[in-house]
Chain length 135, copies 2
């Protein structure tokens, strides 16, 4: 399986560009990139701390602190799990529920200048390629 080094390079460059856009979108709401990710995840899931940590690739203790701060800012709720008194379920607070879609929309808007350099057909092709890439 051969590789095109240029494609690789572009992939890295693009990733940095995208991350910069995301960081900025997060910063506009005084959020870190990680907090942004947490909110995005919580839109569709109510994970336990350990699950969140695994998904984010972080230590449990890091996530504990992260959620601490998010709770303090009333974005997120900590609920003791019903089936396991040790475990904690993290979910969006009402305020978090209001914020999350706003963020998604803003990120979409912020990325559009990038993607709109491609025709719709090209965007679809890109989406397909990336889907394959992500497996």
């Amino acid at each position: 399986m051969d590789a095109d080094p240029e494609a690789l390079d572009r992939l890295v460059q693009t990733s940095f560009t995208v991350m910069a856009v995301l960081s900025q979108a997060a910063a506009a709401h005084d959020l870190s990139l990680t907090q942004l990710r947490v909110l995005a995840i919580l839109r569709d899931h109510e994970p336990k701390i350990a699950e969140l940590a695994a998904y984010l690739g972080l230590d449990r203790s890091s996530v504990s602190g992260l959620i601490d701060r998010a709770v303090k800012r009333d974005l997120v709720l900590r609920t003791t799990s019903e089936d396991d008194a040790r475990a904690v379920r993290v979910s969006l607070s009402p305020a978090g529920h209001r914020l999350a879609p706003t963020l998604t929309a803003e990120i979409g808007a912020a990325l559009t200048p990038l993607t709109s350099k491609l025709t719709l057909a090209e965007q679809r092709k890109l989406g397909a390629l990336l889907t394959k890439l992500l497996d």
Copy 2:
């Protein structure tokens, strides 16, 4: 000027995946992602602090500290600029010069499992699309 929301989503997902790979490659050498970026930049440039800051999207003071730590680890050299005694030129130390290509190679290797899910033709197509995206 329409947009395919799925392509957008994949782009974000892919970026996170790529960043995770890069972070891990950096961490294997006890480097942060930012330090990795600095080393990559220094392979081809000898920027002043302010230029580096602009490129990285960071505050000058952040870069100052960043370079501090890199100097302390003997990866990087601080040289007073010849034409401007206020300015500092940052360059790779001999050790940095040895490390940088290693990192590049390792990152390439770490990303190959991803890109090799595409045929060579698809990789080239992806590269072309991303090139257009990056303008």
